[in-house]
């Protein structure tokens, strides 16, 4: 199953000995580079050789072909066959044989490798359990061969890279075969220091051939440009990009847009947290209006300045990013402000309830349910009978305590393995917090 050496066998009609399973069986012989392709159709094979696969030997003129070919049950030919034919014969005995043959295409030099359907299925991962024979289709065979070669090349490349780059643990062919299932680019890109790649996975950077193609492309472009214009790289685009008038203007707008957003977001959230503005009623509407105005102003500015497209796209995209950041900041904090208010009202209710309980008021006390912001659903039952006995009071107390715990959990930060103190909702509304937040690559 060595793809690299097909050229060496191009004069034989051959049947290839193939393992019963694609992955593990193939890797057992990877260390030796003997090629087992030179075999003729064997008697142990379950499939009788088709007439074409046995007959065209006459038109090949290889001197090494034995004359009494048809009489021999097994004939070891080719590179591998000559060196260890015996070993080969043993293997043939153990394995089912799948015919692969070469067809001559008009003339002596060109041959075509044709593979049986079964091998194709094996290569693309299908099982060979069902012995049903399918009709041979040339396109199927070619596809199978192509995918197989792709698979083999990639497996080898990754084994080599993981060894060569010494990144990650060195892995065997078997492992790589298991990991790769004919994916086109199953490579983990390096993603920064703090998140190590999962163990046992081959890590390479982007495929080196991709990088090489880019380098070659750039060289080609430089050469073409030199031939036609006498200079390596004509950079008209650079001059558009770094036109000083536009550049300074663009950076100024960007900075204003970027840091200036703090002047809106932070005070608004502080006001909401101090209960100056209700998030649920007016806050979110104000925020949405602000976002529309913000986007409108920035886009209008690019139109008014009539910037070239590079500046326009940069500013518009950055504006959208900032919009998303502000939206997220406002809506998350707004949501937290609602939770915070509920927590406060729950605390009030809890105090009320405890006061009831200590008074020992079994005589029947009116307990009005649900303030404006408290969790209404948990006390829905008490509206029907407005008198509470001490058992019910305990139940409600427990329910409120659970709700308080849930609110507290939502209001504090969740970072695993964090040694810093927890951040709780109203404390996070600082200028520095917002400043840090907009700089994070989120």
């Amino acid at each position: 199953m060595r793809y690299g050496s097909i050229a060496q066998f191009n004069k034989f009609t051959m049947s290839q000995s193939a393992p019963s399973t694609g992955g593990s069986g193939a890797s057992s012989t990877t260390s030796s580079h003997t090629f087992l392709l030179g075999e003729l159709q064997t008697s142990t094979s379950s499939d009788p050789p088709s007439p074409e696969s046995a007959s065209p030997t006459s038109e090949f003129d290889d001197v090494r072909l034995p004359a009494n070919l048809t009489e021999k049950p097994v004939a070891g030919l080719g590179v591998g066959g000559e060196h260890n034919g015996k070993k080969f014969q043993e293997e043939v005995g153990r394995r089912a044989s799948i015919p692969v043959r070469l067809e001559k295409i008009r003339g002596k030099e060109k041959y075509r490798l044709v593979m049986d359907d079964e091998l194709r299925k094996l290569l693309v991962g299908g099982s060979v359990a069902g012995g049903k024979k399918r009709k041979k289709k040339f396109s199927d065979v070619c596809l199978g061969l192509y995918l197989f070669l792709l698979y083999e090349v990639r497996t080898k490349l990754i084994v080599f890279y993981s060894w060569f780059l010494r990144k990650g643990s060195p892995c065997s062919t078997t492992e790589v075969r298991r990991l790769l299932l004919l994916r086109f680019a199953d490579f983990t890109l390096s993603s920064g220091t703090p998140t190590p790649p999962p163990p046992g996975r081959p890590t390479t950077n982007k495929l080196t051939s991709n990088r090489m193609s880019v380098v070659i492309l750039v060289l080609k472009l430089a050469a073409t440009s030199y031939r036609e214009h006498g200079r390596l790289f004509g950079m008209d685009i650079l001059s558009i990009m770094f036109n000083p008038n536009n550049l300074i203007d663009c950076l100024l707008v960007d900075a204003t847009m970027f840091w200036g957003s703090a002047l809106w977001c932070v005070p608004l959230q502080k006001a909401i947290a101090k209960d100056g503005i209700s998030w649920e009623r007016t806050g979110w509407i104000i925020q949405l209006v602000w976002e529309a105005v913000y986007l409108g102003i920035v886009i209008e500015y690019t139109l008014w300045k009539d910037w070239p497209w590079i500046q326009t796209v940069f500013i518009v995209l950055h504006c959208l990013v900032m919009l998303m950041k502000q939206h997220s900041y406002a809506f998350y904090n707004g949501h937290l402000s609602v939770v915070y208010k509920r927590l406060q009202s729950l605390g009030k209710k809890l105090a009320e309830l405890r006061a009831l309980d200590t008074h020992g008021s079994n005589v029947g006390h009116h307990f009005r349910t649900g303030g404006v912001d408290s969790g209404v659903d948990i006390r829905g039952g008490s509206e029907e009978k407005e008198e509470l006995d001490s058992a019910q009071v305990e139940d409600f107390e427990r329910a409120i305590m659970e709700e308080v715990a849930a609110c507290n959990a939502e209001l504090s930060s969740h970072v695993e393995d964090d040694k810093r103190p927890k951040v709780v909702y109203p404390q996070n509304l600082t200028w520095w917090n917002y400043f840090e937040y907009i700089h994070f690559p989120t």
Binding site: V313, S328, H335
Partner: protein
Amino acid sequence: MYQKTNGNRVVYELAYPRTATINWTYVLEKTTATFGVLGIMIVVSQHLILPVVLQTHALRLLPLSARLQAFPYILLDLIFPFMIEYLMAWYLIWELILNVLAELTLFADRGFYGPWWNSTTWDAFARDWNKPVHNFLRRHVYHSSISAWHVSRGTATVITFLLSAIVHELVMWSLFKRFRGYLLVMQMSQVPLVYASRTRLLKGRETLGNVMFWLGIYAGPSFVCSLYLII
């Protein structure tokens, strides 16, 4: 109300995972790569895209039938440079710039993208190629629309795609100064494609799905841009 999510986000959190120190070698490496990639992008657009764009400017004076005749050739001219630019732009932003920024701000969570190149469906691609924005849309559009308007998950998906498509169309409009809606239509057509990928015909055929996906990635950007440029 809001789903707790792990991973990096364009969304606000009370606290984020942080690193202790800045690895300056890493910063230098990524910064150098940033300028290298920018240089390649400029060379490619200068030599492979700009001539075609100038050609389309000349074409605009011609009647529609002549423009339509020229369209396939413009498309073929643009496919390869656009593919390069597309991959480079993605690599530049999500691998290089975001990582440099994260390193400088001691930001520890580096999950800016998933292995989108292995995507077999379009929704997987939408999830993986731009994780920060995906997280934003999931929290503030998808889940918010479910909780605010009590819509089904399918409707919420359509709303999310629609919003994203409208924003993309806005960018296209500011870029070409032409309101055509090609990108909007193309992007919205991903929704039926997502459902098609879940049918019996396509489900479980990963290689086929991946091939279809890459076909779309190759043809999509150049097709849309040629449309905007010519018609």
